[in-house]
């Protein structure tokens, strides 16, 4: 039954190999994946590839321009900031924080939202009413303002940022998973599982969840992009990590302050955020095409 359940469309079961091949044939998946891999490698090997200490200040070397400008300082490819810190090294370590927040926050939001969405969609009745009402109230808040309030309440720091993102964006997962669960519930395989006498939690966990999984992968990828933006926003308003720590958002905020003297401070962190977000969006959209059985036909 598990095999039959894996193919809601009803066609032949696909092997792992063919799914992978379809992904590699999708331009958006490959391109988005490549950029993501680039940032992931930079993050993992940051201590090896960063030319300088990202927090080391050198007040004799303030505002050194990047290599393409006149008066560039040798050894500082992208120049230095207002405290003489190496921008390239800060960007590399910034990738570490951006990706760490993206993965953990998206996972936390996904877990919470999926659990509630599955329950609401499958159980229906008052459980559905309570959860749906909660989602509605939650979405009446401006997300940015709510995240800022949450972090202000919990105190600054990475864990607050992650909890804030999860506490706000679980609704995205919840709504989609709820709708999908309701649709899956109408399928024959669920009816037969009920007939065979399988328990409700067993059906939800072992039969329905695997069928919702492709959708979850897509949502997770897109949520990572959102988390990168929210982290940048929170560090921009100085609510993420302490300001000497290299996050892209802090670098953008510093750049905004000195934009008239040194516009290059802002350019590269903004480009990094945009590149990573575009890559995650492309990857998510591409995966949607590859994994969604309805879209595929």
């Amino acid at each position: 039954m598990a095999e039959a359940a894996a193919v809601p469309g009803g066609s032949l079961p696909h092997g792992q190999g063919s799914a992978l091949r379809r992904m590699l044939a999708n331009r958006r998946v490959v391109l988005g994946g490549a950029v993501l891999l680039f940032f992931a490698l930079a993050a993992v090997f940051a201590p090896l590839i960063a030319p300088h200490d990202p927090v080391e200040q050198d007040l004799l070397l303030q505002y050194a321009p990047p290599v393409w400008a006149d008066r560039a300082e040798p050894g500082y490819l992208f120049g230095t900031d207002n405290l003489g810190r190496d921008i390239l090294s800060r960007l590399i370590y910034g990738a570490q924080i951006a990706l760490f927040v993206a993965v953990t926050a998206a996972a936390a939001a996904g877990l919470l939202g999926t659990a509630l969405g599955l329950l609401a969609g499958y159980l229906g009745g008052w459980v559905d009413t309570v959860i749906s009402r909660l989602v509605e109230i939650w979405m009446a808040f401006p997300a940015v303002l709510l995240s800022i309030v949450l972090v202000a309440v919990m105190g600054t720091g990475l864990h607050s940022v992650i909890i804030a993102i999860a506490a706000i964006d679980w609704t995205r997962f919840c709504r989609v998973v709820r709708a999908e669960t309701m649709a899956q519930k109408q399928q024959d395989y669920v009816a037969s599982a009920v007939t065979v006498g399988l328990g409700r939690m067993h059906i939800l966990w072992r039969e329905i969840l695997p069928n919702v999984l492709p959708l979850l992968i897509v949502l997770f990828t897109l949520e990572m992009g959102i988390a990168v933006i929210v982290e940048a926003i929170l560090s921009y308003v100085n609510l993420s990590l302490a300001s000497d720590f290299p996050t892209w958002g802090t670098m953008i905020a510093d750049g905004r302050k000195y934009v008239n003297q040194a516009p290059w401070l802002m350019i590269l962190p903004i480009l990094c955020v945009i590149a990573l977000v575009l890559a995650l969006n492309a990857l998510g959209d591409g995966l949607k095409d590859v994994l969604d059985p309805v879209m595929r036909k």
């Binding site: 808040f141 401006p142 802002m266 903004i270």
Partner: protein, 336 residues
């Protein structure tokens, strides 16, 4: 549209607002930091602190504080801002027109730009023009308003576009103080075109930053609806009559494609309003969004509560307007 429909929607807004008020209230009461400690200098005695706690009602239990808070809200009293020592309602109402004007300008930009993109895409259907419109919409949508705002600032600085201001709402050299906060409308009515131009120039960049994502969404949805409308019989009829393609797209198909777009635009407009929080901060634009961030940084509980509630009321009002306009546009909905 019937009065009972309107009444029902208004009544439904009450539990939502209550929920928002309750959540914000409880959230803010578990703040580890003490707002009173930030309020007074280091020389304060225990008694001063207790006195202030009593003044702001912080010495009662949380449940009792909430009851008092609701009573005050029902009477239109939002409390007193701790950081600015002014009535919250007055502070918010003073800044609200700024944000409303900014959002309306942004909305106009979004509808104009998105509508133009949609019509162009529908007109060039199946040709490279359509692909260009799709690509542009996808790219615009992938970048949030916050980053567009920063990109605009970079653009202005790097290309030395000194004519476009990147902070504030009106030039310092323009001696214009409106009686209302609606400077754009008021300066126009009083024929102060110098002030109108100055405010408009200051509004261009934040409005575009807010408008771009919405414009892309409008372009996508409207283009799809026009394409759907183009398959209908009356379009065939218009073709048989020999109307030009431009006329068919703009006059016949566009009108019938509007309903789904209006609904979606309304929902997305709430995101635009939420975006003012950061965009106003980035451009030092003196609206309620900018105020909200300062309130959070200062831990000004009454002001945060007032602002979050204001945003929630705005969101509910927008959704209500959307439902009403939907009912007006679509006759079948009028007796729903």
């Amino acid at each position: 549209m019937s009065w009972s429909f309107l009444l029902r929607r208004l009544l439904l807004a009450i539990p939502t607002l209550f929920g928002v008020a309750a959540i914000v209230f409880v959230l803010l009461r578990v703040v580890p930091g003490d707002p009173i400690a930030m309020l007074i200098g280091p020389g304060a005695t225990e008694r001063d602190i207790a006195e202030l706690r009593r003044l702001y009602g912080l010495d009662e239990s949380i449940a009792l504080q909430f009851v008092y808070y609701l009573q005050d809200l029902a009477g239109g009293n939002f409390g007193t801002s701790i950081s600015m020592r002014q009535d919250v309602m007055e502070l918010v109402l003073g800044r609200l027109p700024v944000t409303i004007e900014l959002c309306l300008v942004a909305m106009l930009v979004a509808v104009g730009l998105g509508g133009a993109m949609a019509v162009a895409g529908a007109y060039w259907r199946g040709r490279p023009g359509e692909a260009a419109v799709d690509g542009a919409a996808g790219f615009i949508l992938a970048i949030p308003d916050f980053l567009w705002a920063l990109l605009f600032i970079l653009f202005v600085v790097v290309f030395a576009l000194d004519g476009l201001p990147i902070s504030g709402r009106i030039g310092h050299d323009v001696g214009f103080r409106g009686a209302t906060g609606f400077l754009l409308i008021e300066s126009l009515l009083r024929l102060r075109f110098d002030a109108f131009g100055s405010v408009l120039l200051h509004t261009v960049l934040p409005a575009f930053a807010l408008a771009l994502p919405l414009a892309a969404i409008i372009a996508r949805v409207l283009k799809t609806s026009i394409a759907e409308a183009m398959t209908q019989d009356y379009i065939l009829m218009a073709r048989v009559k020999g109307f030009s393609r431009a006329r068919i797209v703009c006059r016949e198909a566009l009108r019938n494609a509007l309903v789904p777009t209006v609904t979606l635009t309304g929902v997305q407009f709430t995101f635009l309003v939420g975006g003012t929080v950061l965009v106003e901060k980035i451009f030092s634009y003196p609206g309620i969004g900018n105020m909200a961030i300062d309130a959070v940084i200062n831990r000004d509980l009454p002001l945060i509560q007032g602002l979050v509630l204001t945003f929630a009321v705005l969101f509910i009002a927008i959704n209500l307007l959307v439902d009403m306009s939907y009912a007006l546009l679509n006759p079948r909905m009028r007796h729903g």
